[in-house]
Symmetry: C2
């Protein structure tokens, strides 16, 4: 099992991707990693580390795609970037997957372009873990497809169902369609048609409303990329926003500095499901390969978790199951 | 100033609408109310109350539209319902506005049908208050229009701008377009065209992302009714969901029953912006009249606040300003 890691992606490269890759090696004895990026930069980062040299390769990719570059343009104009090179060696079968904390749009474009789509898949998608009071759910799509057709939403539901079952370990994932009401006849023509298609899934729970998300009424929330993207970022903003709302209240109630500190410690525990570092990264689904993207600010731990998720995806043969599900 | 109140709407009628109306009379000396609903039921509720009889009228409307009835069907088949009668007397100029905690869909349909649209307005809309760390913002649309055109979103922004300024008291409301990224070229064709149209508003702050909502980056969030409806209900679910997430953490940290109680008291204070009772109700904008709807579970206080908001709308001549803004 060999995973390529983008060592030139995210806000803290090469340090965090390199450290995360080495942490993944500690967690999985049979894993090998290929660090993709500017060779000298990576070697310099590695030189300060203690690691199993026989399980680490460096693959030179001198160009770097910035976090804010226009995706399509960047992928086209930088064939020697870590993203294009890393996905290239995956496409050639030299590695079992590719992970990056880099430019999400560029990764999506390059994944679709270089790896290609799986047989029968209309459009690849990005799914994201989403916190609920019952544990992690999956939201699909979260920004790759802003305009969708019923067949696409159906495929998102099918792919999400398989990912939730095989990678997240949810035995029979409940698939729900985000809508403005529970009744079958609610929403637009698009949503009504999607509802009818999703009914073939044995664990389809119907329409779910905004209030059902945090309550965990479904394990897989199906939506277009605009709704998913807005909800994903909204969720990420909750811990900091709540801290801001609580501070004046705690002070007004006469709590001491120490008590406030203890309070925020408990708050961090309670809101830990909203900590994107725990899951590490999210998958592109529907591409002919294993490609994952993490938050730009990913810590080494987040990168490690993303690599281990990619391993799980490769081991589970998820793509064969996806092809079968939409056939 | 005379406001008609649906005394047969919501989960707790006639008690809450009647009590709320009487509380509004206490708060505003020159206000009169017309209680619309089954006369006997209202008289019975009133008989136990102490109130200024000369400022309260009862208007008989024997039919009741249930909370889950199909909107269009209910409005058509129940001409003697409180919703149809109440909007009818408003349309005839007998009252200055109508408020209800009843079936939102039926209220929207009846408001558009009975009051009609304002000159130049393509489609009436529902706006809702939305909590942020900087205070209340306005989200528009939250469920009336699931499929929109750029011109409609532009009008939502214009109407929201006026409501936020004149009714919410925000001097120069910042209007933002909910989107997947900040840059002007982000999103669908629909969103790009809407962006270009909204630029004429002097306080347009451009695209805002999901993470910007709670941070209060805008005062008016413009979106289609699917996104707005999902975000509205998601926000409403936060306090209870968080309580559920906190309980095991507080117990694990050895907090006593009393301490947990105190904690949840502080939490309720911090999350009070998410308490829909404070604002009471939300307006239908773009209809030729003043029509507001409250949560089905509205308390008397919520109904009172909704009535006082309707008074503010009538006093500010908001509809004349809306017509001028889209002319």
């Amino acid at each position: 099992m060999k995973i390529a890691v983008d060592a030139a992606g995210g806000d803290f490269y090469p340090e965090n991707p390199v450290k995360g890759a080495l942490e993944a090696l500690e967690a999985n004895d049979i894993l090998k990693v290929v660090l993709v990026g500017p060779e000298k930069v990576i070697q310099k980062e590695l030189s300060g580390c203690d690691y199993p040299v026989e399980r680490v390769e460096v693959f030179d990719a001198p160009e770097v795609i910035g976090m804010n570059e226009s995706p399509a343009q960047a992928v086209k104009s930088k064939p020697d970037s870590s993203i294009v090179k890393g996905l290239g060696i995956h496409h050639k079968g030299m590695v079992d997957g590719f992970v990056s904390a880099g430019n999400t749009g560029a990764l999506m474009a390059a994944s679709a372009f270089i790896l290609g789509r799986l047989d029968g898949i209309i459009r690849p998608t990005i799914a994201s873990y989403y916190p609920t009071i019952k544990g992690m759910s999956l939201m699909i799509d979260v920004g790759a497809n802003l305009e969708v057709r019923p067949e696409m939403l159906f495929q998102f539901g099918s792919m999400g169902n398989i990912y939730a079952r095989d990678i997240m370990g949810i035995e029979t994932p409940r698939v729900g369609l985000l809508n403005v009401g529970e009744e079958k006849e609610k929403g637009t023509e698009l949503l009504k048609k999607t509802y009818a298609m999703l009914e073939v899934l044995p664990s389809f729970v119907g329409n779910v409303e905004g209030r059902d998300i945090l309550l965990g009424k479904a394990d897989v929330y199906v939506c277009d990329g605009i709704i998913g993207n807005i909800l994903l970022k909204y969720g990420e903003s909750i811990p900091d926003a709540f801290k801001t709302l609580f501070i004046p209240v705690l002070q007004k109630n006469g709590m001491s500095e120490d008590e406030i500190k203890k309070f925020f410690g408990m708050m961090a525990q309670a809101l830990s499901p909203f900590d994107y570092q725990r899951v590490g990264g999210v998958p592109f689904l529907g591409v002919n390969g294993i490609s994952m993207v993490g938050h730009g600010g990913s810590s080494p731990r987040a990168i490690k978790n993303m690599i281990l998720n990619a391993v799980k995806m490769a081991e589970s043969n998820i793509n064969k199951k996806i092809i079968a599900s939409v056939a």
